[in-house]
Subunit: 291 residues, 4 copies
């Protein structure tokens, strides 16, 4: 159990004195900074920071911190591009799955051991093969079948409506597509913007879309990869949080690539989700700053 902390993330146009302004505000309140990271994008001239302050070093609570910091932000021209999280509030997560269980197993193991500090509120599957392992962890599993007829767009829309309903009742900090294998409709991409995280089983931008390991095998690449990214309406084109690769060779069939790739998918997703929940990922256009 680590100490209660407040996590400030902030962005504004770069100029002289921003660090001094924020640091002085915190210092005057007695704030003990345990982590501080800064970055300026030279192309856009945008300044980013993430600061972690020990809660018990401040003489007021998080609401008062937010109220006071709003003045600082305003004075720096950042009306809304900031946030203060309280680590005392556990992060609510909803997972969307299909048949493949490696990412689910991996996340359940991390939460179960206390390594990943998240409250998995529900798992939703378009198949039910992962219901038992989910429920063995005391987590509700909702089976939302999709129409088998690919032309049945009304049925698909209804399924997504049901999913949205199940997700939204938890107001989650993260909606994780843990190998969900279905393309989110644009309305959900928008509703969950900045919170929906996907793991794509290729090193994007290579092999967008369906069956990336088949595409990789056909092209004869010598490494396969995985990409954790925010979901946007543009398929597999959202801001990238994390990527990794693993070596393959001519002896690897598509099945072997799938197997090797899984090991990369699960750790890449877990890293990306951790960083998202810890407020380490700041989106800037199509790219991310990961502090």
């Amino acid at each position: 159990m680590h100490d209660r902390e407040y996590v400030i993330t902030f962005g504004c146009p770069d100029r002289t004195g921003i660090i001094a302004r924020i640091a002085s505000f915190l210092a005057e309140a007695g704030g003990w900074i345990v982590e501080a990271a800064y970055h300026t994008d030279p192309d856009t001239g945008w300044f980013f920071t993430r600061q972690v302050v020990r809660a018990d070093s401040l003489p007021f609570d998080v609401d008062e911190l937010r109220a006071r910091f709003a003045g600082v932000a305003r004075s720096l021209g950042a009306e809304s591009d900031w946030r203060i999280d309280d680590t005392a509030e556990r992060h609510r997560v909803v997972l969307l799955v299909s048949r493949e269980g490696h990412c689910l197993y991996d996340l359940l193991g991390r939460v179960s051991s206390g390594e990943l500090d998240a409250d998995i509120r529900a798992v939703i599957g378009n198949h039910d093969v992962l219901a038992d392992i989910t429920r063995a962890h005391g987590i509700p599993f909702h089976h939302v079948p999709f129409p088998t007829d690919a032309e049945d767009t009304a049925g698909e829309a209804a399924a997504f409506d049901r999913i949205a309903e199940l997700v939204d009742e938890h107001d989650p900090h993260a909606v994780v597509l843990a190998r969900f294998m279905r393309i989110l409709p644009p309305a959900l991409c928008e509703a969950w913007a900045g919170r929906a995280i996907n793991i794509h089983h290729s090193f994007l931008p290579s092999f967008v879309g369906a069956r990336p390991y088949h595409q990789a095998h056909t092209r004869g690449v010598k490494l396969v990869g995985a990409t954790c990214h925010y979901v946007t309406a543009d398929l597999d084109a959202g801001p990238i949080i994390e990527q990794d690769v693993i070596r393959v060779d001519h002896t690897d069939s598509v099945t072997d690539m799938v197997r090797k790739g899984r090991d990369i998918e699960k750790v890449t997703l877990a890293r990306g989700l951790r960083w998202h929940l810890e407020g380490r990922v700041l989106v800037h256009g199509d790219r991310t700053v990961v502090f």
Copy 2:
């Protein structure tokens, strides 16, 4: 479900004509070779091969194959340094665990999805925190507590006797120390020689023994690793099957190193175990050939 295959592993002093002798034997019987690997150690002049033959290409069964191959082996001077496995026989595995669950979760997930073709017959823990997840998979969990008094060597010996009894009733192809954290007594190292597989949480030979991540942190290394190896009576010095590393930096506390290291431990163990079960690992002195 892949096809039934016979896996031949063989070693003998190198000389001209070994490949021809084995290949001709198989060809004459109509054997369809689906994988063939060869290696000669130039230091010791030892020849190694692993060959995989489709069972349905041979006009006789595995016992007959063994009987006939014995003659080939004898003619090449290899009375006993060979083995023929039948993939129709499922590999029996017993896991030894303690409190840390990441390797157990990982292996259960792989077996559950069918990725790892193994029959986990039992999990034995000196603590019982991993009993529930084990039993949720329909696998027996045996809690064998160890004496809390470190001086109680009789109590420790009795605990190991109980473990040996529980393990040996399954005659397992592999006894996996999945972060078991106890040193096997020499008698068990000998009894399970070539079958007991450990995952050590460092890049051996660095940081032998206890608390390797603490040692790594103190030394200020920039990568931490994991080593999957056969257990011998010489602590952490058995033949290495597989190793991997992950990057760390000055911001990583020991706790962070432990967390990052787990991701390497579990995949390194899983790879090593798979290769062992598939007959890909040939031990040669203190080293391994991994086909």
Copy 3:
């Protein structure tokens, strides 16, 4: 100085008895096999092998070996898909360069130390900035300027004619585009098929064409890569020999990516070239087998 060896590479449709046929042929002649590798592509049913035989173990010379092996190959249905190289013949290499010197420096260093056993016969540059370092190694440098007017296709064709002339007089085993930055005309791709090797500064198939690091920066990827491949008329789409990647993050500008990427480019090219010269790379359609 290692021993003189004959390197056999061979491909034919898979069937029972190929290994036995080749191994028996060699065994009967007393051939001492020091390396043997086999692979069958399950999709196409094509069999590949590479075998290395000690020259002094055979009672005849390489021409006789070729003559006799032709009969073996014919009997297995492989009229022409095989080759026997003699390591006593040094590999002739011609390098094409532009302004960027990191690959050239790297290869010169490897040849100079004896690590890479190749005879660099000439370096040809469309700029002359790398002339001095080339000549300091006693290697001829040819400056073949290209027209500055991008519309001057006749001038460009003349430059390529001059390059072809300079290259072809050495009948090289490899024509290496060591960051040459010009697209070879189709006629040269064809003339040098299987011998022209390019290093592309991205993890293909991502970021084909010009300025891949700029593309990578814009996309916000978390790793950049390099690809060593055979040149074909289809830009950056030839069979891949080797790839590697290196981690980047939000602090890396395009310039930083270029710098980090260079370290990957040069080792990836060096590995690919070594494997090519050692006869380890067998092309099969759009893919490669690398023994």
Copy 4:
């Protein structure tokens, strides 16, 4: 050519308000911070920062900046644990080499292309095989032979005296042991403390001392590595700046490991040297903070 910058590195016991104090000092002078990094070591409670300020944003020169910053440092209890570098001053480097040229080639290539902004003032070798390539770059090469008789300690001491003399006349920012293969005497370790950088051809703390690739081969490891570290009187035990590894397997002889390892050695040394010269490496006891 990038802009002229001042690089501030600073360490002191952690407490509230350090960032504010430094940032406010810079902001009041109009200082434009282009990079800022902070770290606190939780074990020792030590605070570290590195800040990069655009020279043209300050109304005074670097000497005045140093004079003023001394007051800030004093007020934070850091009399001497800080430094301000001016990027207008080129970094002077002296290289010590032996017979192996891969690190020298690599550094010469980087400096020659402008990638590494360093002024290599001299190369000193105990053999002269690398004299030609050094001089081809217009850099003086000094051959300082060592006695062939290992018992001739007076001769060895005289050789080191000559080296010290040759090095010290340049007052270098870095003395790089680019595979020098000789153990520096304690007096030189002390004289060059924090400036002498070695590349050791193993993943330390594994395989300290002589012939690490032989040790690695004997132990049967599956990865070999390289370590760039500051030289101290304790052999191969100085603070680690950077490490990297590359995969090997049972087919790799010691010679192969040496060859593969070289690719890691040269990039690891180049990264470590770059970071040192850019003031990114802060030593803290036996470990380093690398910003």
